[in-house]
């Protein structure tokens, strides 16, 4: 029952957030530039441009335009992309699988690398490997993602010629979803972008897990567990690591947003046909309906992931009740 009430509350919050985002998105659109410039050639006269503007409703006052947008938006119509000439939402949803798979792959890399490395560094803080991992992670945090991306292209695609340099490769169409996970070509195309994208979060999580774990290892109940003579793996994994997870999940939930933000850079460098790349292109082309739709969809993703994080939280630690984590 609690969960249901919580979800309903969250839904209400989401609606407010979406509304605010749409107003902000709409009010900046006048500063994004003139869409007509991208739609017509250089020698088209200002008169003709103005006729087109009138026809597209771009000359209407802000609130008229916004109201028109809002009434359509509540029916699921976020406008039609100028460039793709299709509903903006449909265009974004078409690109969503590519971005989702990229983020998923990066998340996998982050989890499967940061957890073991973080735990190891916490248990053996003075070992050579731990020091190395810490040193590398400092570098990793400070190198911007597009540099990592370009370097990895030059090393793995040009110099070693192991992996493809751009794009998504072959995809398998599942009807509702086009996936790159099911073909070898698709997977090989995924490796570099996923590595580049994970490179920003990976050092952060290794350091976070290490720090939290070292904290927990000093606590009373871990000492007590040792005193009971439990097997080290049980102490480390069940007693210590599980309690390390809470802050990690919290940070993780927030960082999903950062990860999505960084897909814009990663996808652009790798010509990855996802939402982030689409967004940057839309900004360049002043495709305002697409820009606003993207902002709204990403806003929604934020709300959803944070809701999931809150729910997962209660599963990891039953002491936390969701009614207590609102806000």
């Amino acid at each position: 029952m609690d969960t249901l009430a919580f979800l309903i509350k969250r839904l209400g919050q989401a609606a407010v957030v979406m509304l605010v985002i749409s107003i902000i998105g709409f009010s900046i659109q006048d500063n994004l530039g003139d869409p007509l410039r991208e739609l017509v050639g250089q020698s088209v006269s200002e008169e003709v441009r103005d006729e087109l503007r009138e026809e597209m409703g771009l000359n209407d006052p802000f609130f008229v335009q916004y109201w028109r947008f809002l009434t359509k938006a509540v029916q699921g119509d976020l406008g039609t992309s100028y460039f793709f000439k299709k509903p903006a939402l449909e265009v974004i949803m078409g690109k969503f699988p590519a971005t989702f798979e990229l983020v998923l792959a990066a998340t996998f890399i982050i989890i499967f690398v940061s957890v073991p490395v973080g735990i190891y560094c916490a248990i053996h803080p003075k070992s050579f490997f731990s020091r190395l991992a810490m040193a590398v992670s400092i570098v990793g945090i400070s190198v911007p993602v597009f540099l990592t991306a370009i370097f990895s292209i030059y090393i793995f695609a040009i110099y070693l010629d192991w992996l493809p340099s751009y794009g998504r490769g072959d995809t398998v169409d599942l009807g509702f979803w086009r996936t790159g996970f099911l073909s070898l070509d698709g997977l090989s195309h995924l490796i570099l972008p996923a590595l580049a994208l994970s490179s920003i979060m990976l050092p952060l999580f290794i350091r976070l897990i290490r720090g939290e774990m070292m904290e927990v290892l000093r606590s009373e109940y871990v000492r007590f567990a040792w005193a009971k003579g439990l097997h080290p793996s049980r102490v480390y994994l069940l007693h210590a690591f599980k309690n390390t997870l809470l802050p990690v999940i919290t940070v993780g939930g927030v960082q999903v947003g950062t990860l999505i933000a960084y897909t814009i850079l990663t996808e652009t460098v790798f010509q990855w046909p996802g939402m982030g790349f689409l967004f940057l292109e839309a900004v360049n082309r002043v495709d305002t309906p697409l820009i606003i739709a993207y902002i709204i969809v990403v806003g929604l993703i934020f709300v959803i992931t944070n809701t999931i994080v809150d729910l997962v939280y209660t599963m990891v630690n039953p002491m936390v009740r969701i009614t207590g984590v609102k806000g």
Partner: protein
């Protein structure tokens, strides 16, 4: 009869397959993919590049900026106002329909309804003479009939007639919205489109019934991928993921040139980059001496060397070499001492402050060029307050004439000099649309008259003289600051002979491309 034909066809297919002539795949990457499959929706480089793959024009440019016969087999001038074109026989559209004069006239009438193209064709109309002959008739004497015929890519009128699933006319030209012609195509060109995912990939296959049997082109399939980021595009070529890329960024020219297995082709381009000095905003700019001083203070050859890394040709006029208006006597004028003395003569040796705007993602190194100009003008005590911004925000500012000096690059849509003067040098006039991009508000009656005159002159020699005179006047008046013509660059894997198909207009004739 039928059997013999079948046999012949089979034999031909067998011969072709045995020789392996049609089994090459070209993987290419440009910075962007075409906006639409409709050849008349937008007048842009991308549209023309696509048009030359899927359609054929009546005539097309050759390397010497002359005209080669394509769907027009031959042409002759009937009188001062009429040019007669013989349309090639036996040309098949992708749909299977045969090309006739009716398609050509239909296409011409359609162009006249295109916002982007109609200005070019405003003085022309077309009449059908017989099934394979058309006349282009002009309102008055008009020198650019053949120039404009390079824009006429006959469309399959039967294919584009009728209504689509939404009840709309299949021939509609729609700028922002769904239209039949923006997604479906039937031309006479060397390639058909087999699949297209906008912004991701376009796949082409060679059209089996292509009319031009003499073409040596042996590419049977093209996979076209837009790769927006220049370093990634270069990396894709160097790693062998694609065979052909354009454009190549100046920073990577040496890398591609020196790399084993890739070839670089560069060419002096036709897009002139300039700064305009707004005489309506600044009293100082009304003084020709000040304008001269500015032009003399800007070392555009230095900009080409240092900033463009040699990837450009320093300019002293608008018309590039090869255009009728190119005046060989005009040379870049960098001379700082003269610039300083001109400022003194004009009474501005103490200098003044001006505002300047330039885009930062429109032309090659645009904002770096603006910064260089800023520091060069400091030497004659002109303090420049520079603002740079993405093109999307820049163009509205340009339309507002929001700064004292603004950057603009221009490529002549007609590949003719007069187009430069019409848009950049003539006195701005809202009603006629002349001088639409003249943000300097430069006005010279003589330039206006001469330009108008060259638009109705048909004698090439007389016309060349008039056009070159205009360049000279603009030069002497320092009507604008000429910087350079941007070079063009393409790169391909060794064995992909792009050098034979690229041209200064930057629409490679890929139908004729040979791969070893």
């Amino acid at each position: 009869m039928k059997k013999t034909l079948m046999f012949l066809a089979t034999a031909m297919v067998a011969v072709v397959m045995a020789s392996g002539a049609y089994a090459k795949t070209l993987k290419m990457a440009y910075d962007a993919d075409p906006v639409s499959l409709d050849p008349h929706e937008q007048l842009s480089g991308g549209t023309l590049q696509l048009s030359h793959m899927v359609f054929d024009p009546l005539v097309r440019w050759n390397k010497d900026l002359g005209f080669d016969a394509r769907l027009a087999e031959s042409w002759e001038r009937v009188d001062e106002l009429t040019m007669r074109f013989k349309i090639r026989q036996g040309v098949k559209f992708h749909s299977g329909n045969m090309l006739t004069a009716k398609d050509v006239v239909w296409t011409f009438d359609r162009i006249k309804g295109s916002e982007d193209f109609k200005a070019i064709f405003s003085k022309m109309s077309m009449k059908m003479v017989d099934d394979h002959t058309v006349d282009i008739v002009t309102d008055g004497p008009f020198p650019l009939v053949l120039h404009n015929a390079t824009y006429i890519f006959p469309m399959d009128s039967a294919f584009y007639s009728g209504t689509d699933a939404n009840g709309k006319d299949k021939g509609d030209i729609v700028k922002h919205g769904d239209s039949f012609a923006s997604k479906t195509v039937s031309g006479t060109g060397p390639f058909t489109i087999t699949s297209r995912e906008q912004g991701v990939k376009v796949e082409f296959a060679r059209f089996a019934d292509y009319w031009d049997a003499s073409s040596k082109g042996n590419v049977s399939k093209i996979v076209f991928t837009p790769i927006k980021e220049a370093p990634t595009r270069v990396a894709a070529l160097l790693s062998g993921d694609v065979d052909f890329i354009a454009p190549v960024p100046p920073t990577d020219l040496d890398r591609v040139r020196n790399n084993d297995g890739t070839e670089l082709i560069t060419m002096s381009g036709t897009r002139i980059i300039t700064f305009q000095m707004d005489q309506n905003r600044r009293e100082e700019f009304k003084n020709p001496k000040v304008r001269q001083a500015i032009v003399h203070a800007i070392n555009n050859e230095g900009i080409v060397q240092k900033i463009m890394k040699g990837f450009g040709t320093a300019a002293a006029q608008m018309s590039p070499k090869g255009y009728l208006g190119y005046n060989g006597g005009l040379k870049p004028r960098y001379d700082i001492a003269k610039a300083q003395s001109l400022m003194k003569e004009a009474g501005y040796d103490k200098g003044f402050t001006v505002t300047m705007m330039a885009p930062n993602n429109r032309y090659v190194n645009d904002f770096k060029i603006a910064e260089a100009v800023q520091s060069m003008l400091a030497k004659i005590n002109i303090k420049v307050e520079l603002t740079t911004m993405p093109k999307a925000q820049y163009w509205p500012k340009f339309d507002e004439r929001a700064a004292d000096m603004m950057m603009i690059g221009w490529h002549s849509d007609t590949e003719d000099s007069a187009n430069f003067y019409e848009f950049l040098a003539m006195t701005p006039n809202k009603d006629t649309g002349k001088g639409q991009y003249n943000a300097g508000n430069y006005s010279n009656e003589r330039v206006d008259q001469l330009t108008e005159a060259t638009l109705i002159m048909t004698d090439d020699e007389e016309r060349a003289k008039a056009l070159q005179d205009i360049e000279k006047i603009l030069h002497e008046d320092a009507a604008f600051v000429p910087l350079h013509w941007q070079d063009l660059a393409w790169a391909a894997r060794t064995g992909v002979h792009i050098e034979d198909v690229v041209n200064v207009m930057n629409f490679p004739y890929l139908g004729d491309l040979v791969i070893d």
